[in-house]
Assembly symmetry: C2
Homo-oligomer: 247 residues x 2
């Protein structure tokens, strides 16, 4: 089986590192690559064709793992040459996923949960052909959600709805606890019910959110707009909360 | 040592059941008691004096564990007769705690975290004399916060700030997940980072909040008003969220 890779950042590099099998050959192209990326490809001894068009045509599975803003362009350029399954692993919105579906035959929509460069990422898949990719579970935790394109992207938004709003709640709670000089006791008391790592996890969430508050706000905005019918009061409050930490 | 009990509901009953020591004698009174309470007292072979005034005067530690709305009245009536430590274990606001402090000599402000009728409740204490009650740790997890009256009550509010707002966030997230038929996947995906019991715990939080939404709203309102300087946008949103579930 031939797996073609468009994009060769963290995601593709880790996929190659995690999926070791005599039955699987990875291919890609050096077309318009930076020297750093070329090096990463050569280091892994991956076969490089002249063009991505050739990669698309030769792949049983074509993986698009680029930056979210290039995902649609990649699908427009190479989707039509792909005869196998086109697996989109970009961190994109459901809308972009639906648009990509117009340019690709057999699209599978994938969401990576957790850090891809951890030992143990999890991939959720949706789309009619996603069942055919479950063999990947031997190498990376892989689940099929449904036949519906977009479900993987929606699941990712649902996850963010919870985690990003939770961070805003932690920011607010700890703010008040600090004011009353009860920050330690706040974490202790909640550790009793929320688990022993509550303090560590919460502080990491707060710091991560505050140091990326502009990007987190954009993501909250995307959630509010996508689930607009639901009138998400908690997420709107989280957006308002984060706005107070922006210049 | 003599521990006097005013109020003989769940809290007092469990304290008697948890604290078993030859050095400690519990006393109370049957004055104005219901037959059910009298039975619970007699079952535990607790010495009953004629009046609560006598109980207050004879106690090294006088525990007030009544309904929150009676807590101040009890302090007004019996605080002046108490020569030992007056331990208030009612679920009361910081304001009520400060008022009680005007009627009581050596007040210790206690917050019970977790269900008192579990095997393993935890009690947080504040007030100058709270260190003298740390011997209770042999029977019930007991921590001293500080010398400041009110800190235990404030800690309880801080805990509620987090837990009650979190419930509103869970209600909102699961609402949307259900709409996209991704409720199971929502819980699964979050279990990866939030712990295996995330689903069970979340559903129990949601049900508990929705079936007591009026009381939970009142508690959120109390938090907003007590921490009014902090302008709690997340808690306000939680209150707004819960208002949608009220008749």
């Amino acid at each position: 089986m031939i797996i073609g890779l468009i994009g060769f950042g963290k995601v593709s590099q880790n996929i190659v590192d995690l999926i070791k099998s005599d039955d699987i050959e990875f291919i890609t192209s050096l077309e318009n690559r930076s020297s750093k990326t070329t090096e990463a490809i050569e280091k892994r001894k991956i076969k490089a064709l002249d063009t991505f068009k050739e990669v698309a045509a030769a792949s049983d599975i074509l993986i698009s793992a680029n930056s979210p803003k290039n995902a649609l362009e990649v699908a427009k350029s190479y989707g039509k040459y792909c005869n196998g399954i086109y697996l989109d692993l970009n961190n994109i919105s459901p809308e972009t996923t639906f648009k990509i579906n117009e340019y690709v035959g057999d699209l599978v929509d994938g969401a990576i949960i957790g850090k891809i460069d951890s030992d143990n990422p999890t991939i959720y898949l949706s789309g009619k052909k996603s069942g055919e990719l479950l063999f990947l579970d031997e190498f990376v935790n892989t689940f099929k959600i449904s036949d519906e394109i977009g479900d993987a992207a929606i699941l990712k938004l649902l996850r963010s709805t919870y985690t990003k709003t939770l961070s805003a709640l932690l920011i607010e709670s700890v703010e008040v606890a600090k004011e009353y000089d009860l920050e330690n006791e706040f974490f202790e008391v909640l550790s009793l019910t929320e688990g022993e790592n509550f303090r560590e996890k919460s502080i990491s969430r707060i710091n991560n959110t505050l140091s990326n508050s502009k990007r987190k706000s954009e993501e909250l905005d995307e959630i509010i707009n996508y689930f607009i019918k639901n009138d998400l009061v908690m997420v709107k409050a989280a957006l308002e909360k984060l706005s107070r930490f922006q210049p």
